[in-house]
């Protein structure tokens, strides 16, 4: 089966080359049949990639260790759920996932636009073909996921336990879908530049895909944060790690793009800016993929030196060179059709928001690549830590949230300060009341940045609420509909506007969670014996007893041993039980003894989180297995050649020994206020973006109806 998979990739590579060639030839000579054939070629690549993906997935599911990738990243003891995800936890597999998602996304777009954008689409097809070809070339040339082993091992190495988390199942595909999604507007932008048709057509055709890509990328980032919070055992959700930053940068520039294309659609302005933004977004998406693989920057996720770093750099260089050359050579065609009427207009504030978003991206980029920059300038490798990021990003984030509030209040083209005040006085009052309430009722003043953020969040929520309220009132006075119906119809008829407002509200809620949890988190690190009590943020935590479980840890990750604790928590009028634990996974390292290999392999914290709207209580344990070292050494010698049943019995005895007489364990307890709202806000953002992306059925119906009524009129007049 591995041969079939390799053949799929080889044929897909040839087809990608053909797709680019045929579309370009068809576009140059005006022979539509070649363009159609080129488009079909993209569909074929999608088919071939899906076939290859299916074959590899099947190999993972049946644990076929003759596949090098399966032997490396999976094992028979890996739960089925995680066998599926193990495919994209490997370098080669993740490349295949990239190519598959890209070809599927590209096929969908080309299918939907097959009757429109006749001039631009062939070039877009060629660009998409080249991008798909690059990833296929990487696999065919250097990182073939279908490499086989001459002597397949009996058991595989298993999926890295850290990746055994539900969020990790969906996080990479989400992120990749976001990355590949941005290649679609990029491809059409290149097509628009080549054909000099730089109007808003390409934007109208691909806006929705950019938005969908943005949703996926954002969801991926949120899931990554969730994974970090609940699996990594340090208690945070964001650490300014290069790999995290790499996913945030294209998202920020993509956000700027989604805003500024509205200005081009409506006013024909910012054309150069828009094509530059989308080229930058796509380049950053490639850069993100590259960073994860190259190992050039130190990161928790450092993936070791890779063989394909150079190829990625060359491709990124080509993309930048092509984009820059095209933009510069087409400058005369990218002139604005209109001028900014006034600095007091929505478009002017969109420009401002763009500058802030791009500024944020530049700051993060500088910090991420600082080790390389400083090595180039001073000769020594130095790095900046999270405090540096916090210091620079916080003011920019505050400005951004302020703009999030102001933007929805403005009208296009122009408005007067008096009109702004008519709209703004309610939200400003709400923000003021919030400020006073926080100052008098809470100790929020301890962190001025957080206090400012809370007020701005109130401003955004009030502004968005007022928009909905006034719109509903206006509609009701016009149509006399009931409240809920008026609200639903208002949103339905202006999906983009109100979907966007909802996104703004979600972002505000997200920042509420970030500001509260980063400034007012309480953390305790303690060592405790059973019976000991410690307190964190008003909770009394009592270590009741130790637990030891064999095979069957709480989250079903297939860990052979799981040592943990039962904790009684009292406080804030509640009483509940928490069960943090630590999973131990066996290693195949032959230098370790038969028994110690079960204790000395990978271990992961199974954090227990008591989620709450007001605050989370987060608990991790690190049992001390030092007292078991002696008995383990002895068992290693005695039972080295015993049957697995006997060894399992010994391990059970050792675990039981820990349970009965546990040495003090290290606990980390974190009380994080409002942290859940980060993900609630993220959910609202996704919901709002879906509303904005949903095609409006009314518009389609209206078009059909008007066509029929026109025909009716014609035919009636003829009779």
């Amino acid at each position: 089966m591995a041969g079939v998979g390799s053949a799929c990739l080889a044929v897909a590579l040839l087809t990608a080359a053909y797709a680019a060639g045929a579309s370009l030839y068809g576009a140059r000579t005006g022979r539509r049949e070649w363009v159609t054939s080129g488009r079909r070629a993209i569909y074929c690549i999608a088919g071939l990639c899906v076939l290859a993906f299916g074959l590899l997935e099947a190999a993972f599911l049946r644990s076929d260790f003759s596949f090098a990738l399966v032997a490396e990243g999976s094992s028979t003891s890996t739960p089925t759920f995680y066998k599926v995800t193990a495919l994209w936890a490997t370098q080669d597999g993740s490349l295949l996932l990239w190519a598959t998602l890209l070809s599927l996304f590209a096929s969908t777009v080309l299918f939907l636009t097959r009757r429109s954008l006749r001039d631009i689409a062939p070039y877009a097809t060629a660009v998409l073909g080249v991008i798909a070809g690059f990833f296929l070339l990487l696999m065919v040339g250097w990182e073939n996921p279908f490499d086989t082993l001459a002597n397949p091992p009996v058991e595989g190495a298993g999926l890295n336990p850290l990746l055994r988390h539900p969020a990790m199942m969906i996080h990479p595909p989400m992120l990749y879908t976001g990355y590949v999604g941005f290649s679609v507007p990029f491809a059409f932008a290149i097509g628009a530049l080549v054909t000099r048709h730089t109007g808003a057509d390409w934007i109208r055709a691909t806006r929705r895909f950019a938005l969908i890509a943005w949703i996926f990328l954002g969801t991926g980032i949120m899931l990554g944060a969730l994974w970090s919070y609940t699996e990594l055992g340090w208690g945070g959700y964001w650490a300014w790690d290069p790999v995290e930053n790499a996913s945030l940068m294209p998202w920020l520039v993509g956000t700027a793009f989604l805003h500024s294309i509205m200005v081009q659609e409506k006013r024909g302005m910012l054309k150069i800016w828009n094509v530059s933004l989308i080229c930058a977004t796509f380049t950053l998406a490639l850069l993100g993929t590259f960073l994860v693989r190259s190992g050039i920057l130190d990161s928790i996720h450092a993936f070791g030196a890779s063989t394909i770093g150079v190829q990625f750099l060359v491709f990124i260089g080509l993309v930048i060179a092509l984009s820059a050359t095209l933009i510069i050579s087409r400058l005369p065609h990218l002139r604005s059709e209109a001028k900014l009427d006034s600095l007091l207009s929505r478009e002017a504030f969109f420009l401002l928001n763009n500058l802030v978003l791009v500024g944020l991206c530049l700051v993060i980029m500088w910090g991420t690549f600082f080790p390389l920059i400083s090595e180039a300038i001073t000769g020594t490798e130095a790095s900046v830590g999270p405090p540096w990021f916090d210091r620079l990003v916080t003011p920019l984030a505050l400005v951004l949230v302020l703009l999030t509030a102001i933007g929805p209040m403005l009208s296009w083209r122009r408005f007067t300060p008096a009109a702004l005040w008519r709209v703004a006085w309610v939200p400003v009052t709400v923000a003021g009341v919030t400020l006073v309430a926080l100052l008098t009722l809470t100790d929020a003043a301890d962190s001025p940045a957080s206090l400012a953020m809370f007020c701005l969040v109130a401003l955004v929520l009030a502004a968005v609420g007022q928009e909905l309220w006034r719109g509903t009132v206006a509609r009701r006075t016009m149509t006399g509909e009931a409240w809920p119906r008026a609200l639903a119809r208002l949103t339905g008829r202006n999906r983009r506007r109100y979907g966007g407002f909802l996104v703004h509200a979600g972002i505000a809620v997200l920042f509420l969670g970030v500001a509260a949890s980063s400034a007012f988190v309480q953390q305790r690190d303690v060592r405790a014996r059973p019976g000991d009590t410690f307190s964190v943020d008003g909770y009394q935590v009592t270590y009741r007893k130790a637990t030891a479980k064999l095979g069957g840890d709480r989250s079903g990750t297939g860990a052979p041993i799981s040592l943990g604790a039962v904790l009684d928590v009292r406080g804030k009028g509640k009483h509940f039980v928490m069960r943090p634990s630590r999973n131990y996974y066996a290693t195949t390292d032959p230098s370790l003894g038969a028994i110690s290999r079960f204790f000395e392999g990978e271990a992961t914290s199974e954090v227990d989180v008591r989620w709450g709207l007001r605050r989370d209580l987060w608990m991790a344990i690190r049992p001390d297995i030092g007292s078991l070292q002696g008995p383990i050494r002895v068992a290693d010698r005695k039972f080295a050649n015993s049957s697995t049943d006997v060894q399992a019995f010994i391990i059970a005895a050792l675990a039981d020994r820990y349970r009965r007489d546990p040495p003090p364990a290290a606990f980390r307890a974190i009380a994080s206020p409002l942290v859940l709202w980060i993900w609630i806000g993220g959910g609202i953002v996704v919901l709002g973006a879906l509303v904005a992306a949903w095609p409006s059925p009314e518009a389609r119906l209206r078009r059909v109806r008007s066509l029929y009524s026109a025909r009716l009129g014609q035919e009636l007049s003829r009779a």
């Binding site: 890295n160 450092a302 063989t307 790095s383 210091r391 980390r668």
Partner: protein, 130 residues
């Protein structure tokens, strides 16, 4: 104001903002950065971000304190490290770690919670070994 002067003014404002941001970036990053160093390059009296490999058989616990030796990735020079705080899950002998701190009387005293361990198995390409 006529439009061309207005445009010029806007350009000046935008450029000033860009220059300010750039200056802030350069100034703050160079002043706030910590130098990365291998065990063989450590000098006492300043803080570093130490990178290297955890020496086999060097890990020991003393109360809350974790002690281990870190050696150069491509050499034999090593330095003892004393560390308190949360230990990342993948921390193990032979793993690559990054830890911030300062050299004091021959021991690298690490800042609390500053230990980062590189994730070993995702995307590594050492099929030939082990």
């Amino acid at each position: 104001m006529d439009p061309s002067r207005k445009r010029k003014l806007r350009l000046v404002v935008a450029l000033t903002a860009a220059v300010l941001l750039a200056t802030a970036l350069i100034y703050t990053s160079f002043s706030a950065s910590t130098e990365a160093s291998k065990p063989s390059q450590l000098k006492p009296g300043r803080s570093y971000e130490l990178t290297g490999e955890v020496v086999k058989g060097s890990i020991s616990h003393r109360g809350d304190q974790l002690r281990f030796r870190v050696r150069d990735r491509d050499g034999t020079a090593s330095v003892p490290v004393s560390y308190t705080g949360v230990v990342p899950d993948p921390f193990r002998e032979g793993r690559e770690v990054i830890v911030s701190g300062e050299l004091e009387r021959g021991t690298f005293v690490a800042e609390r919670d500053s230990l980062v361990t590189k994730c070993p198995s995702k995307f590594t390409k050492d099929k030939q070994s082990s």
